[in-house]
């Protein structure tokens, strides 16, 4: 795998053009602590106090679980981003060298090797030793502090909780909508035993009678209002009079 490596003086050694940045220990503050919590968010707040002796510009905090405790990192995010942006895109994942501590010692470029002494990662010059390169590491197992993925993002429990909440809300909403639909359907069919087809046919029949009778009555009343000797009216033929 290709990587960039940032050294203390800020210059970057590019092994291959690729997609990863490893930050040198001189650019961040590290400490391991056992906090009385399993929450990453709480641990992050505690880490802020725990790393109180760090330089004032190291305001950004990253925390991830490691063994029984937490690995805590403090860094100057703006400075790191500026350094990296000079050589690669902003979307390139960043890793602290400390995050590779379980896989050390290893070679990080032509002139430097990384090793762990008393739990702290260090880099040193040694061109003679034969060590595995960072290319051989499995980066997927690591949290990525700068790109929002990995353990530093929303925890799985929170995500699962949100999924359950969304499911319950959706189920509740749909149940209410279904109830409304059922109520409307039952209200729509209550009140009469006849089907819509029957009612339409009867309305048509009665409307025809109603219309004929109104017409006949109007004709009879009109004829009766004038002086007549005889008047003959029927639904079919209408009125004739003398």
């Amino acid at each position: 795998m290709a990587l960039y490596y940032i050294r203390e003086n800020g210059t970057i050694v590019r092994e291959k053009s690729g997609d990863i940045v490893v930050i040198a220990p001189s650019l961040y503050w590290y400490g391991h602590a056992k906090f009385p919590t399993s929450s990453i968010a709480k641990a992050k707040r505690l880490a802020d106090s725990f790393l109180a002796t760090r330089p004032a510009s190291y305001t950004a905090i990253h925390v991830e679980k490691s063994g029984d405790g937490f690995d805590c990192y403090a860094y100057d995010e703006a400075h790191l981003r500026t350094l990296v942006a000079q050589h690669t895109s902003a979307k390139t994942p960043f890793y602290f060298l400390q995050q590779f501590s379980e896989q050390m010692p290893l070679r990080i470029d032509e002139e430097l090797i990384a090793d762990t002494i008393n739990g702290i990662c260090i880099e040193m010059e040694n061109g003679e030793r034969t060590l595995p390169s960072l290319d051989s590491l499995d980066f997927r197992s690591l949290a990525k502090p700068f790109n929002g993925a990995g353990e530093s993002g929303i925890s799985k429990k929170v995500a699962a909780g949100l999924a359950v909440l969304l499911f319950v809300t959706a189920a509740g909403d749909l149940a209410l909508r279904y109830q409304t639909l059922q109520a409307l359907q039952s209200r729509s069919t209550e009140g009469t035993q006849r089907s819509m087809y029957e009612i339409r046919a009867l309305v048509k029949k009665y409307a025809k009678i109603d219309s004929e009778q109104r017409r006949l009555r109007a004709a009879i009343q009109k004829a009766l209002s004038s002086r007549i000797k005889t008047l003959e009216c029927s639904v079919k033929k209408g009125c004739t009079h003398e």
């Binding site: 993002g153 749909l174 729509s188 009665y206 009766l224």
Partner: protein, 128 residues
Amino acid sequence: MRIYAILFGVLLLLWGSAALYMEKRVERVQQEYLERAELTGRYEALRRLWSQEAKREARRQMEKMLAIYGITPNATKRGSLKSYTFSVDAKRADTILGKLLGSNLTITSFTARRSGEGRLEVRLEIEL
């Protein structure tokens, strides 16, 4: 995390689709209900006037009314039609004929003829 994003997406999609479907169904059922209510209202109004029961009641009322005015009609029945022939005093004719025409009898034919003694001979044929 990707799996949760997919899960959220699928849930939202399902929720949205089901809600939209139910919304449309509710709209359609409401519209059907309104149409049915309008038709049923019209049906009830017409049924009160022209149903068999209404016709029977109207005929009964007519016979009662004629009896009150002391008129004994000559009634003949032919199939589903019934004819009433009677004579009314010309002075009362307007009132009696007005009441007959104002009722919901199903009149099939109506004949009126003035006689010499200031009376009106009326023949009314109604549907049973």
